[in-house]
């Protein structure tokens, strides 16, 4: 009972926070985003923060992280330093167009929103919603429905900024786009940014998203990303989650795919106190292809949960989901993956797998693959495994003179590489490779100089 009572308190506090600040929110923001707030807060009032009674959150305990004392900033904190001074992405040969969110606010030395020569528009979502209300309005809130989930409702009520990317028809973006989410504050903070990516017909882009914590404070991120991939477009996303143990990241991504589009996401959860990834894909028209991959490594008391729904709403689409986890110490993980094939989605090919290795007796993994098929001419499969390292393989390696520790690492790394190998941005793949190897060796593996800040 006390849990529920506390959660009600948290919910009431957030509702009060909204009431007290709704004028500020509306004043600072655009009509497009404001238009969703009242409905969203109403939905949040109804749903609240998901508890473990909600089947979808059975293994992810949000109560303790929401109960912490966070500050909420309704305007970006003025920074007195150049972001370059505290953060530089040091991945060699990673030649990207960099967009930075600091505590969920877009920051740049240049304009808040840039239109590049090829017509690509990138920058702040808040600014985009002001300058291009029709474009943003056409998609904002259309895929991430506030009625689905309390976290989405909460984000939609409070969201003020985030990243906006628009790739026009027939444009292939030459430079990969890199979004760097930096969390840096003296105080504990809730951050609720919102992203919108629109890929027009025949467009193509690669996107790298990196999450970093640069100060020791506690952070709670509740972000929502909506992605629209129109006909024949192609979008590859790699998300690298690399936060400290006092950070919680709740990330919800909604992908809407039109005819023959191809979207891949690969979420590498390298480090973080608690990580929850919700990925929802709807293949609305024929001929789509989707890959949703993830690799997570947990130790100590970390928790990573991946929750996917891949919906085949049209015929002749193909989807692959592959998630792998390596769990050490008392780490916990969850995978909840669902393939949903609509009655008329014939010739669907949908595959899903989740494989996990537990390195200790105290690590826990809960996995729940689900198939829901309403069409009769489909090829679908799913499977999940939870196990230890293969003792026979370990012995085989050792009889060749490879030490036990090294042999274990080789096997773990081989296990992880199936996912790393899918990363399509090569310099990043090499870096992730390196980081995962270090992480598995038990060495510090935070990317970049952030390691020096958060200890």
């Amino acid at each position: 009972m006390s849990f529920i009572a506390k959660m009600l308190d948290v919910k009431e506090e957030l509702l009060e926070l909204y009431e007290a600040n709704s004028d500020t929110l509306n004043l600072n923001s655009s009509e497009v985003m404001n238009g969703f707030r009242e409905e969203a807060i109403m939905q949040f009032r109804k749903k609240g923060i998901p508890t473990r009674k909600n089947e979808d959150y059975k293994y992810t305990e949000l109560e303790p992280v929401f109960q912490k004392d966070y500050k909420y900033r309704f305007a970006p904190k003025k920074i007195t330093f150049a972001v370059d001074d505290i953060f530089k992405c040091d991945v060699p040969e990673l030649d990207t167009k960099i967009l930075i969110l600091l505590n969920g606010w877009f920051i740049s030395d240049e304009a808040q929103l840039q239109e590049l020569d090829n017509g690509v528009i990138i920058g702040s979502l808040a600014e985009a919603a002001k300058q291009y209300p029709d474009l943003v309005g056409e998609h904002y809130g259309q895929h991430a429905k506030t009625s689905i989930d309390g976290l989405v409702a909460l984000n939609t009520a409070f969201a003020q900024d985030g990243i906006f990317i628009y790739v026009p028809k027939n444009v292939v973006v030459a430079h990969d786009i890199q979004i760097i989410n930096i969390l840096l504050d003296d105080e504990s903070l809730i951050v609720q940014h919102r992203n919108l990516f629109i890929m027009e017909e025949n467009s193509e882009a690669k996107l790298v998203i990196c999450d970093h914590t640069l100060s020791e404070s506690e952070f709670l991120t509740n972000s929502v990303t909506e992605i629209v991939a129109k006909s024949n477009s192609r979008l590859d996303i790699v998300k690298m989650q690399n936060e400290h143990n006092k950070a919680t990241q709740l990330s919800s991504t909604f992908i809407s795919q039109k005819r023959s589009s191809n979207v891949s996401t690969n979420i590498i959860s390298l480090h973080g106190g608690m990580i929850r990834n919700n990925v929802q894909v709807v293949m609305e028209e024929e001929g789509c292809e989707n890959s949703t991959f993830g690799l997570f490594l947990v130790d100590k008391k970390q928790h990573v949960s991946n929750h996917t729904i891949v919906e085949h709403a049209s015929p002749n689409c193909r989807s692959t989901q592959k998630f792998k986890g390596v769990l050490d110490d008392q780490g916990t993980g969850a995978f909840n993956g669902r393939i949903l094939v609509h009655p008329d989605a014939q010739k669907t090919e949908a595959f899903q797998s989740n494989n996990n290795i537990l390195l200790t007796d105290e690590a826990t993994m809960n996995t729940k693959p689900m198939l829901e098929i309403y069409a009769d001419d489909v090829k679908c499969s799913h499977g999940a495994t939870v196990g230890q390292l293969d003792e026979d393989a370990l012995f085989y390696l050792r009889t060749r003179g490879i030490g036990q520790r090294e042999a274990r690492l080789m096997l773990m790394f081989a296990f992880a590489y199936e996912i790393i190998g899918e990363i399509k941005v090569i310099p990043l793949r090499d870096r992730v490779n390196d980081l995962v190897e270090k992480r598995l060796c038990g060495e510090l593996s935070r990317c970049n100089n952030c390691a020096m800040h958060c200890g």
Partner: protein, 253 residues
């Protein structure tokens, strides 16, 4: 080189080896034959340190060192090699990385520097030619998708790379057609030197047409019940194991 005295070993409380005695000297080839379930593979596993078997009595020394003091990797580094009856597939671990790590661990153990990439590739090339293994196989993950014959060839390739003092080949001939058998046997013969030794564990005599043993031992019920020269293999081929079983069983009664 290898001295086994009164070796007893069991698994899950069931005694499999019941007092094995065997001496192997440099330059010798020993064949260990015997019916199914006699303990041949258990002996190989115990020699290489598989921990599912419990040694309950006896001793093994290898070049004067108590083998039980060494873990599997140190036994390998000291010069003991096991060719597996069922080589393990290890998806995601490349043959190159596997062999490079193994070779360099051996070198480290001997106080040698790690090989340069160039030296290593040259070594790979030389040994591949020696055992007639397809180059494409060494570009794949360890044993993954290899046919039965390819897996056995790969065992001999690994043996060539590591140049053991004592090679134990556990039913290397099982599942091989005659061509593959000849290639595998040729590999073993080419690697033969006056200072190394081989224990060939086999069920059938045919491998011994190609790898000619100095001694043939018959293992039955966890003991070596008969030892003789290479002619014993032929006799076994002709008469089977029943006559030995009968003799042993009578004595035991």
């Amino acid at each position: 080189m290898l001295h086994i005295k009164n070796l007893h070993a069991s698994i899950d409380g069931k005694e499999i080896l019941r007092g094995i005695n065997l001496d192997v000297n440099p330059g010798e080839i020993h064949a260990i034959m015997g019916p199914n379930g006699s303990g041949k593979s258990t002996l190989a596993s115990v020699l290489t340190g598989r921990d599912i078997f419990e040694v309950t009595d006896g001793e093994i020394t290898f070049e004067g060192v108590n083998l039980f003091d060494l873990n599997p990797e140190d036994r390998s580094r000291s010069g003991i090699f096991l060719g597996f009856q069922y080589p393990i597939e290890i998806p995601g671990v490349s043959m190159v990385n596997f062999m490079k790590t193994a070779v360099n661990e051996h070198r480290k153990f001997r106080g040698q520097k790690a090989m340069t990439a160039g030296e290593f590739l040259q070594l790979m090339r030389d040994k591949k030619a020696l055992v007639e293994i397809d180059s494409r196989l060494t570009n794949r993950s360890v044993n993954e998708g290899f046919s039965g014959g390819e897996k056995k060839k790969n065992e001999i390739f690994q043996m060539a790379m590591l140049e053991p003092k004592l090679a134990i080949l556990d039913e290397t001939d099982s599942g091989l057609d005659i061509d593959a058998l000849r290639i595998v046997a040729n590999g073993v013969n080419k690697l033969k030197r006056p200072d190394n030794a081989t224990i060939v564990i086999t069920h059938y005599q045919r491998l011994l047409d190609y790898i000619v043993p100095d001694f043939v031992h018959v293992l039955y019920n966890g003991q070596i019940v008969l030892s003789a020269g290479k002619e014993l293999a032929l006799e076994l081929e002709e008469k089977g194991y029943d006559w030995i079983k009968k003799e042993v069983d009578q004595v035991q009664i």
